[in-house]
Amino acid sequence: MWGGVGMLIVLSVLLLGVHILEARRARDIGLPLATVIPDIEKRLNIIEEHVELARVNEAINRGAPEEFVHMYVLPRDASMDRLVSSIEVLRDVLIKDGKLLKMTSIDIGDNIVEGEMSRWPVRFTVNVTEEGLRTVSLFLGIAGFFTVADVLTEQEIRQLFLYAESENPVGIIALEQFLSADLLKYTVEYQSLMDMVRKSFVSPAFDRLFTVLQEDSLLKDVRILLGGELGERLRRNNLWPLRFITVDKVTVTDGEAGTLEAKFETSAYSSK
């Protein structure tokens, strides 16, 4: 009999422990989850709605940027005429502005095949003012980037989306149009693109973020570089978008009369 009593007491204590654990789980895990889940559901619905809207928009507008990339940014052929012409336009504009004094010939080396792409070493040396060096570096820095989204980092794009989610989920269309705007169009129609996005998101917080983004990201450099005659001449000569170029090596030495001699070793890319 006593053995049975002992066993029943032990089992009762265990069951009591289970009750306490379950109550704690409900308090420590269940209640916080119950408050968080509705927010996640709401956010998920908004993002899924964004994806749907973006897909509809994509079906209408997609295609053109991809085609430009295949034709001009990463062309399949080895022709360098557009690349040389675009550097020539840069040279002419800089000479006209008094920012470039001398430029050597553009040397293009043999192509190097790397997986799905080919790379051509492109070298040239310029005698420039400080401002001229800045312009040449900016030109090479954005060469190959085509749309606004291309020059923004993932964090910058995510921040824009977070505001879109909380403020106006339907505004994703305006945001997408802004992100997919061609950089040359962005510099020309800067104000109207900004107004289009601002109409969809009216809060001061978004306005602040959007303004900071225009000033602190590569977008500011793009406006400085393409906003003047250089952008206009690239557009007029049908040289936009630029060939994809990376800067591999730069040597800058002090030149005569406060100028700088900059030797650029870059790579121009093609798809195979």
């Binding site: 989306f161 992100l179 800067v247």
Partner: protein
Amino acid sequence: MNNKHQYVVEDVPSLKEAGERLAFPLFLFSLILFCFLLLSWAFLLPYISQVHMGGERTGVRELQSYHRELTERLVHAEDARERTVLPILDPLYLELRSKKLAMPSFLRVHEEVRRIAARIVPDIADAVTVERLDFVADTGALEITGRTGHVGPRSMTVLAQLTDALLQSSFIESLNQPAFTRQEDASGFFSPFLIRAQLTIPSVPSYE
């Protein structure tokens, strides 16, 4: 009359007898307690440990698995949105774009070096002269050649200040200390230098 109290001495039960008498009630008590707790565990506990969410009662385990599922769906949806909103999805283009954004920017490096050199001795414009800058993007290697001077016998101190300022800047990961020497020419004391530095590689997440 005999007033003397008479005490009837009864037998005091032994422990064993007491145990035998108590055993059954205790057994009954523990049996009933166990049955109640068992019933509570089976029927009451699942009900009272549920939480209200959206007008419905849900168990904690269901809530946890639903939360996991929602989080996974959210991550996928965010990825899908980023991919859909990026106008160009060519894999080669995305690879090169990520590579280019992850490279240190020559322009930023050049401007930062010039800015730091100018602010070491703000009153003397040519206290630090950068004569040559060699920048290699792939390896993030930077070589700065120049001289410090026009500061009297302090040229080596100014050079030390320059290396300290470069080390403190966000774009330089590390540098080899230059040889500290002081020479003299017609313009006075000067310290030529060659600083080899390793640049910080910016971290840019890939869309691939």
